[in-house]
Symmetry: D2
Subunit: 422 residues, 4 copies
Amino acid sequence: MNKPFNPHNCSEDWLSNDFLQKKGEFAYNWASRSMTIIEKIVKKNIKNQPLTGLKVGLCLHITKETSVLAMALNKLGAETSICSANPLSVQKEIAFHLANNNIKVFAKPDETVDQYHEFMHRVLNENPDIITDDGGELHSLAHDKATKSHKFIGGTEETTSGFHRLKIIESKSQLKYPVIVVNNALTKHLFDNRYGTGQSTVDGLLRITGIFLPGKHVVICGFGWVGKGISAILKGYGCKITITEVNPVNALEAFMEGFNVCKLDEAAPIGDVFITCTGQIGVIRKEHIEKMKDGVFLANVGHFDVEIDTEYLYKHDPCHKEISENITCFSLDQKKVYLLAKGRVLNLVGGKGHSSEVMALSFANQLLSIVYLSKNHNKLENKIYSVPQEIDKMVADYALGSYNIKIDKLTKKQKKYQGLLK
Amino acid sequence: MNKPFNPHNCSEDWLSNDFLQKKGEFAYNWASRSMTIIEKIVKKNIKNQPLTGLKVGLCLHITKETSVLAMALNKLGAETSICSANPLSVQKEIAFHLANNNIKVFAKPDETVDQYHEFMHRVLNENPDIITDDGGELHSLAHDKATKSHKFIGGTEETTSGFHRLKIIESKSQLKYPVIVVNNALTKHLFDNRYGTGQSTVDGLLRITGIFLPGKHVVICGFGWVGKGISAILKGYGCKITITEVNPVNALEAFMEGFNVCKLDEAAPIGDVFITCTGQIGVIRKEHIEKMKDGVFLANVGHFDVEIDTEYLYKHDPCHKEISENITCFSLDQKKVYLLAKGRVLNLVGGKGHSSEVMALSFANQLLSIVYLSKNHNKLENKIYSVPQEIDKMVADYALGSYNIKIDKLTKKQKKYQGLLK
Amino acid sequence: MNKPFNPHNCSEDWLSNDFLQKKGEFAYNWASRSMTIIEKIVKKNIKNQPLTGLKVGLCLHITKETSVLAMALNKLGAETSICSANPLSVQKEIAFHLANNNIKVFAKPDETVDQYHEFMHRVLNENPDIITDDGGELHSLAHDKATKSHKFIGGTEETTSGFHRLKIIESKSQLKYPVIVVNNALTKHLFDNRYGTGQSTVDGLLRITGIFLPGKHVVICGFGWVGKGISAILKGYGCKITITEVNPVNALEAFMEGFNVCKLDEAAPIGDVFITCTGQIGVIRKEHIEKMKDGVFLANVGHFDVEIDTEYLYKHDPCHKEISENITCFSLDQKKVYLLAKGRVLNLVGGKGHSSEVMALSFANQLLSIVYLSKNHNKLENKIYSVPQEIDKMVADYALGSYNIKIDKLTKKQKKYQGLLK
Amino acid sequence: MNKPFNPHNCSEDWLSNDFLQKKGEFAYNWASRSMTIIEKIVKKNIKNQPLTGLKVGLCLHITKETSVLAMALNKLGAETSICSANPLSVQKEIAFHLANNNIKVFAKPDETVDQYHEFMHRVLNENPDIITDDGGELHSLAHDKATKSHKFIGGTEETTSGFHRLKIIESKSQLKYPVIVVNNALTKHLFDNRYGTGQSTVDGLLRITGIFLPGKHVVICGFGWVGKGISAILKGYGCKITITEVNPVNALEAFMEGFNVCKLDEAAPIGDVFITCTGQIGVIRKEHIEKMKDGVFLANVGHFDVEIDTEYLYKHDPCHKEISENITCFSLDQKKVYLLAKGRVLNLVGGKGHSSEVMALSFANQLLSIVYLSKNHNKLENKIYSVPQEIDKMVADYALGSYNIKIDKLTKKQKKYQGLLK
């Protein structure tokens, strides 16, 4: 083993800790086992070393899945550095494993918000050519701090939230490099957002509360792919479901799926559990909380902890109690309201986040997009791009392959019928 | 009552038939009852008579829902003529009702294929300004027959099949007027294709075969919105479901919904019922049929009857029998294969087609698109257009209104957060 | 062909009608195809002719499935006569087919209620040894009319409704022969009531109304097996479901399945469709109807047409109209209420009744119970019996066999563990 | 606080541990919050103190829900002692909380199997009048050790497994006191087994493995209420499901629910996860494991760890590794097999066991049955009894009440119709 990189002056104890070393390695291997897509992409490209000479700066949740992506980047020739997309989401053994494997890790388990910001700067100081972000924070910083001396060749972004932030920058013609937004890929949002966040949200809810789901009335704010995923699973548990939306098409869809659809105002008094997944700010507000029943649970799975008006809660009950891990109890006018995971991403904080298997789809898009940027950045403008369709399709093909599923091909006659052949 | 228009020399008996008159009127009223969206659009626009002076030529299935659209066009000022989109889908009482209400009807219940084509010519001879088609047949004819003397100002198209035909014309730069393809509207395909075709397909299957669904293995070729809709309903009945696809993303989605996904070749020996909904040609072929079990049912819900290789069936068993309405039995090498509705659209031929309520969504898009064309045709190029987003959203709003559902509006703070306000 | 029996002086035209003959034969064959269980039972017992010398009197709905049972009885040696369990449920071609095949048919398609009763007497006049009934009507009559000169050796009963009537007779110690109630068999009610009535109820609803199901709020009165079956299917269609119950255990089950559970009083104003399946009298009453929305559908699938207070409806709107087949429209104080199938069994009158395949399970229990009675009647008391467990299990085994499903057997070690072996 | 009872010489540290005291109290309160049924029963009976003078010996999993039952017994006057139903299921803070509240606790978190047995003896040495058991172990011991000097007045039993053991004793006429088997109550098995074990099994599976469920093929051995519950939830997650059974009726039901049904032999090569819930011994055996794919998970939720042949696994790979908590990896002929929770009850060991809310149903039956025994033991024989119907119904009523659900009552006319009134 090379001498591991030790960015933040960890004690030697940490780096030579046998237990952490094994735990981190096991976690990496266990994730790899479910992420065979990444392994296949590496296998196919390793000879050409397409990322040689490139520096990639990652700002991602430091999980075992991220370790698989980071290691894959290195295997394809990149020099990789990483900081965490959220101060709460650093897993110690993973940070350790990466640091032990030639990746520059600027993150630690109990990092403060200040450290979290400092670590982002440290990644930028490495002068990455490509930035891969989850939430748009590092992209924002890169735009603030970009100097003439350093030129980024491109970036990728994992989430819708990040996309919205980049959209604003782009609208002012201030984007400094092309960014491929992975979230728009079919093989990302149709699966990661729906099935991945769906499963991990329910997992987080159960781990934190141990609530008995059959018969519970769950109000889901937002019927995008995440809301669709959560509601489908909860239906299987026997929950009653109410959907609130601002988009009439989504609302109509929810209605025809058999869900109750109404304003949050009307849903407030009947829900047992409220889950926000809108990407919006200020969704559950004072006026809603006031109408709720005693003993409700409030949770958020949107990227930022702005969907529930927690400020109101903290202000209204300064004596709130953390009654168990990730449950804060507020006593408001004769009733109790339980806030889960402090209103932060329930599925990451409360559960174990997405399964490796579904992360593999997103990260395959990331990996192939990074390779794509390395080859095509000269042809691209400083704009937001979707994942190229051929990459999207390629990821789906890899995924079916990993499940040993074979599907039909168009016959010659069919191609002709479809106008694909003359 | 005005003297009814009588296009094809029907006997006076027909036009004065009291029973048919009442039946047609009832059907129209019964459909109107479920199509309050159309009524609301008419109400909002009737003062301005936006279609005054315009001739609209319709080529649609002659059903009670179509009668609601046709009457709405007339109420908004249009002069409307109609022929059938399929020689088998003319409902006598509806044709009668329309003919009795100032609509020029070129269609009759038992029309031959020759008459079907002749009737399309008759509609064109009326020199319509706008053509509204279902399948693209009338658009094709309009392009073949278009003379310099007559200028179309625009067209609309209901189906994917029609879209594909128009796409080919457009790709040769031969499109002679702008066409709005309604199928692309979210409020069309998310609902009509999924829930509408889903329900009517199962309805058609049950009416024709009376098959007991629990435990049956149904193979669905195609997992677009139609396939998604059918499979969701059949799951509720306790069917086992196998999906075949050529698109890897759709295939992966089907897999994660819990369906079996494989090549048709592998599905052939295990299915009890096979339903095609691909929009493709030659999907179920000789090599598949040969592997099937004794007693399977074959059905198609794609627009054209080209998805099942019926030619092979007829050739292989010249003595096939129509054993009951819409079931043709073929005896092939020791086994029987039952073809439903001759391989034509199962849900229209075998069932009663889409419910009025879901047709209202499509037809609201049609109606608003026709009004849009009447106002904006000068600004449009001779291209294929999607339904404008504001119309799509408007239809969803009308629909929610018709169900008395109110949804949340973005707050000022949220609009700002989303970058919609400064 | 033997000279057919012609019980009610049909014209020769009827009996020599070639079309009816073919139609009846086809229907019988089509049903047989899905009722291979019956065929297997016949095959296994035909050598011994266990029913030789016995007269069996049937009072069943005259459908193609009944023809398979009746023919099976004859094949096993019985002399069979039949009348209809409901004056509306006689299918002409089936009556014809049976009459042409040595079964004494006392039924005709358009029989009046008087004829219906007369025909029951005619069956009794044949002096049957065993009575097989659906609803308990013929059993009641048999008890009223039983003379000393004729001794019944046993009876079977298909429905819960019949069971209740027999229970009252038994409670007065007036039962004149042992009756095996087929409904209690697991292989009957778990399948016939749940899946069979479930599917045919939805089928009847769709055929009569053509209603678009997604998003509809359906109120189901009764959460026994029938209610469970209907609700599971409607959930798949995207309906919202409210259950009303008088039994707290069933109510709790419905709640945990995710359904809304409340008093009918509270459900009345929110339902779009109301379906009764309780076996009770006077379930939907004046006070409920008054609270309903405009345009609701009322339907019953309980055996008797007593679950909806139709008397109130007819009285309140003497000018009600039959607006289409099986829809009666009542105008009540500013709103319209649509009664389906006159409040009679929706699935039989409106749909095509149960699929042959599920009827095969019930009728296999009937057939084996009749054979059982023929052998064991001497050992039985004049009581109500359940289907013997070994018959129940045998039917399940036959059914699995007909689907080519093989299941595990207990190992020696497992039998020992379970205390079945020493 | 009274001086706490300290049965097994815990250090004073343990008993004065402030953290544990608060944790145990919180857990008790948190559970009570979801077990309002128990509270209501206590409230209704507390005046009469029906259990005064009675000693109750409990052998249950030492969880927060059990603490609610134990405290309720004391509140109604009983003197209660408790040992654990499983050496692995003792929760320290609960043991602590009970010991601090006048309940004699013979259990500790890390008890050995020897201690586990010794603790059962200690409970018996308290000379309980009534024994409440989970698994039948304490009942067995009570029968072995019963002396003439001590007379039990009755017992209750929670599980099917315990029921089977008692059945064997009863069949030899050796039962020494009446036992009420709670599992037979509708309000127990319909809810606890189905929804409770269903949810906690999936929870355990996710906590231990983090497996991504959509698309996974899960083989469930046993389609009793537990199998039904697990499969319904997994269906909602998008799993493919295969059921194996030895009971043909259950198998047929699974088939009609749309599940794949076959012999375990055929299921072995296609499953990703195998879950046993049969109550049987030796279900997954060498011959099945040999046919499985690489990387499968094996889990059991039956009461005893005899359903999977773990002996074979341990023998075949003596170098097996505990790769993470509750996952043991066996390397067998080129493939890996992962055994979860050592083949012990997955939902208790891996998850957090049943939700308090569903346990409340079982424990309400327990509590009311114990009260019933205290009043009626003289009238009962030394036999196995079901929970009296009136208790069952009462529990359902309490449960509906706790959800604020009101249901219809039979009208006078309906009671008469049903023969309940004259």
